[in-house]
């Protein structure tokens, strides 16, 4: 355990939270067991509080504007004035780019967010009278009939179902849609 003399030198910094974390821990650990150092720390604290209360802070109202006004009144070298003019022009051009970028961002966001509407609108098209697979032309599906999502779907978008995958051990699965009846049929005849 650290000695009171050693800890006492760190109490002021401890009060101001200026110690390293390990030192803070060491002091805190010591204070938990030492009433003498705790009393000194309390005195530091009281002293600091009292000093802060009697010090009047100077008013800074108008200080920054007064400094800027004074700086503006100083004669500017020609090169500085030219540089300032060029900077303003660059800001204008930059602002133009910023507007362009903002417009592009809005366009992209609008496209992304309006996509559900577009899909919904596209799905409202007139009903097709042709079925993907006719009733008679039952699709013979081999051991496993499977269509991946990337392939064209089996059922017409205008029917009630849009099949992206169909697996069956049945060799004679047939799928057809009846747009006029808003129905898609999957036919699984029993194997002989």
């Amino acid at each position: 355990m650290a000695e009171c003399g050693e800890i006492g030198m760190m109490l002021g910094a401890f009060e101001d939270s200026e110690l390293e974390p390990n030192e803070m821990q060491e002091v805190a650990f010591h204070l938990a067991r030492c009433e003498s150092c705790t009393g000194i720390l309390a005195d530091y604290s009281t002293l600091g509080r009292d000093l802060r209360s009697i010090t009047a802070e100077p008013s800074l109202a108008g200080f920054s504007s007064a400094v800027i006004a004074r700086v503006d009144r100083l004669p500017q070298p020609v090169l500085t004035r030219i540089a300032r003019y060029l900077r303003r022009q660059a800001d204008s051009v930059g602002s133009g780019f910023a507007w362009g970028g903002a417009a592009a961002a809005i366009a992209v966001l609008t496209i992304i967010l309006m996509t559900p509407y577009a899909e919904q609108f596209a799905n409202r098209g007139p009903h097709s009278t042709t079925s993907i697979a006719g009733h008679e032309a039952a699709t013979a599906v081999n051991q496993v009939a499977e269509a991946t999502a990337s392939e064209p779907t089996m059922a017409d978008n205008d029917s009630h179902a849009d099949i992206s995958r169909l697996e069956s051990e049945n060799h004679s699965v047939a799928v057809w849609s009846e747009p006029r009846r808003d129905t898609t049929v999957i036919w699984l005849p029993d194997q002989p």
Binding site: Q120, H160, T184
Partner: protein, 172 residues
């Protein structure tokens, strides 16, 4: 290059004006799906169409050439997107339906039909809200079994059979 405060305000207003409806459309869709299953026996026994099949009787008659359509079971259940719902159907068939997502007016789902424990068919599809998918073909008694699968994000389906309390389904 600087983006002035006015530009930033314009950008925010533009996104709010153009983007919010689409965003709301993408996010506000209901996630709960009601699945309706009607199991129908179709046969050539000249017995006509079961009156409980009134909403879809004409559709079945137009799709298939049978002279008898009899409702042999009706199940319905609600489930959330991503949660599978299982239906026990007549003839030892089991149907698993798992809605995946709601995309505008379409409900993406996976359907697996089992004959006992053997999977007969697995399909991924997008079914129109209140739309119907018909799976048919398995032999049932003296005819064939036709399973009408309907899904709705609302509380009712226009093609469901007119029955009393439907059989329960299990969700997982």
């Amino acid at each position: 290059m600087t983006l002035r405060p006015g530009s930033l305000t314009f950008l925010i207003i533009a996104i709010a004006a153009f983007g919010t409806p689409g965003l709301a459309h993408a996010q506000a869709g209901p996630k709960r799906v009601t699945v309706y299953i009607d199991s129908v026996m179709a046969a050539d026994t000249n017995e006509g169409t079961d009156p409980r099949l009134a909403p879809m009787g004409k559709k079945l008659q137009g799709l298939f050439g049978f002279s008898t359509y009899s409702l042999i079971g009706h199940n319905e259940g609600q489930t959330d997107c991503g949660k599978m719902i299982a239906f026990t159907l007549p003839g030892g068939k089991i149907l698993h339906v798992q809605p995946r997502a709601i995309d505008g007016d379409m409900i993406a789902m996976e359907i697996v039909l089992f004959d006992g424990t053997r999977p007969m068919m697995t399909t991924d599809l997008k079914l129109k809200n209140n739309g119907t998918l018909i799976v048919g073909g398995p032999r049932y008694e003296q005819g064939m079994m036709i399973i009408s699968i309907g899904a709705s994000t609302g509380g009712s389906h226009p093609m469901r059979a007119q029955v009393g309390a439907p059989a329960q389904a299990n969700t997982r």
